[in-house]
């Protein structure tokens, strides 16, 4: 089964969902992300859903779960690129994605993640000598 690739970008993990995921693929993504956050000490996760033309309650819950789990692991989650039709439908569906921050695109999402890092933590030091997962 294909798994959705997770990229490391500095302190953050970047996931681009580019296919219409079936449920098992979504669950696999959730597991993979959690592992990678721990393995790379990531401070933030950016999930790009701009290729998704629908987000149903399962995917919505997955995004919420990822946000909760990353939160426990001290990482922030930002979801970017939600399409207008998807946003309207999610509102009508009644899904509010609690704990999930959103931004319009990857650039703004990264700004948001960087801004959410506490100022007093020296970011660079954590990286030295660590292997990419």
């Amino acid at each position: 089964m294909d798994r959705i690739p997770i990229l490391k970008l500095g302190d953050f993990l970047l996931v681009t969902v580019h296919v219409d995921m079936h449920d098992r693929l979504a669950m696999a993504l959730q597991e993979d992300l959690t592992e990678k956050i721990v393995a790379t000490h990531a401070r933030g996760v950016l999930i790009d859903i701009s290729a998704l033309d629908i987000v149903d309650s399962f995917i919505g819950r997955m995004l919420g779960n990822i946000a909760s789990m990353s939160g426990i692991l001290d990482a922030k989650t930002v979801v970017v690129g939600m399409r207008p039709a998807v946003a309207i439908t999610l509102v009508e569906l009644g899904l509010s994605l609690p704990g999930v921050r959103t931004a319009l695109n990857v650039e703004k999402g990264m700004d948001l993640l960087r801004a959410s890092l506490p100022f007093d933590e020296p970011v660079e030091q954590l990286e030295s000598g660590e292997e990419v997962g």
């Binding site: 207008p84 946003a87 309207i88 999610l90 509102v91 009508e92 319009l104 695109n105 999402g109």
Partner: protein
């Protein structure tokens, strides 16, 4: 007196020859009719392809021949195929922009051909000729009127659709500053229009990468529950996408309507004026407007 009441006082004679003639001289009638249609169609009619014209005419003639065996009440069940074909022709031509009078030429050009054929078959016997012409006229006029009615209804539908499109264009989304959009709504909002306009706003937010959108309803006289719900839905959707909305221009009457309707604005940001909303948007974007001391003008300027 109306045409129909005058007509209905004439002796009702079932045409005895028409169905037979339509069958016997079908290919000749079809050929002449198509030629007559092509000759008399105007510029708008040029949009209809020749092969479509031929096909529709052939289908119609066939259906007409069968139905005419069954009397002259064009609204009867036996005439339903004829009506369906006329409806299709009419709708299609209306969509192409042909006006109802010209659309009816589909029938009235057939009338001439039918008369010519009737005359050639019955010419010697003037009483039969008159009776046959009379029956044929009744049927064809009714069909012509039916066609016109459908055409007018289709035209109304086209106009309604165009109006809707115009409404969409007339509520443009404007850029107030980098990352700040405004949507000044004017006039009465109905549910349909509100949805279209709101969707437009969301798409502009994506397109321009704006983080803040000000929805100004100064120009909206009243807001009903449905419209209020669409507005709130849009604000929620924008938030899900990563942008914030401010609703401005809420007049006292609208404020009291909203409270009265029990609509919960929740944590949606609202401001009395567009200016207040803009100021707020600037602050949220970490922008400020600064007054610059006037420069001394050089002599002679």
């Amino acid at each position: 007196m109306s045409y129909y009441s005058w007509v209905s006082q004439m002796p009702q004679n079932k045409s005895m020859l028409l169905p037979e003639l339509l069958a016997k001289r079908e290919s000749e009638i079809l050929k002449d009719w198509i030629a007559e249609q092509m000759r008399s169609r105007g510029p708008a009619g040029a949009g209809i392809k020749d092969e479509d014209l031929r096909r529709q005419s052939a289908e119609f003639l066939n259906a007409f021949q069968k139905a005419s065996q069954d009397g002259d009440d064009i609204h009867a069940e036996s005439w339903s195929r004829v009506r369906d074909i006329l409806t299709d022709v009419s709708r299609e031509q209306a969509r192409q922009g042909v006006n109802p009078a010209d659309i009816a030429l589909f029938i009235f050009s057939l009338k001439q051909i039918v008369f010519r054929v009737l005359q050639s078959e019955t010419g010697k016997d003037s009483e039969v000729f008159a009776r046959e012409i009379w029956s044929a006229t009744q049927i064809l006029d009714r069909l012509g009127l039916f066609t016109t009615q459908v055409a007018m209804k289709s035209r109304e539908e086209v106009i309604a659709r165009q109006q809707a499109e115009m409404l969409e264009l007339s509520t443009p989304v404007v850029k107030l500053w980098d990352g700040i959009l405004a949507l000044p709504l004017i006039g009465t909002l109905d549910s349909e229009r509100t949805q279209v306009v709101m969707q437009n706003l969301l798409e502009e937010i994506v397109r321009t990468g704006a983080s803040i959108a000000v929805i100004d309803i100064t120009g909206v006289p009243t807001v009903d529950t449905l419209v209020a719900q669409h507005l709130l839905k849009t604000v929620a959707a924008a938030r899900l996408m990563g942008a914030e909305c401010i609703i401005s221009g809420i007049r006292p009457q609208i404020a009291s309507t909203i409270v009265h309707l029990g609509v919960d604005l929740g944590d949606v940001s609202t401001k009395a004026t567009l200016a207040d909303a803009f100021a707020s948007a600037l602050r949220r974007s970490n922008l400020a407007v600064v007054k610059i001391a006037p420069q001394r003008r050089a002599q002679g300027e």
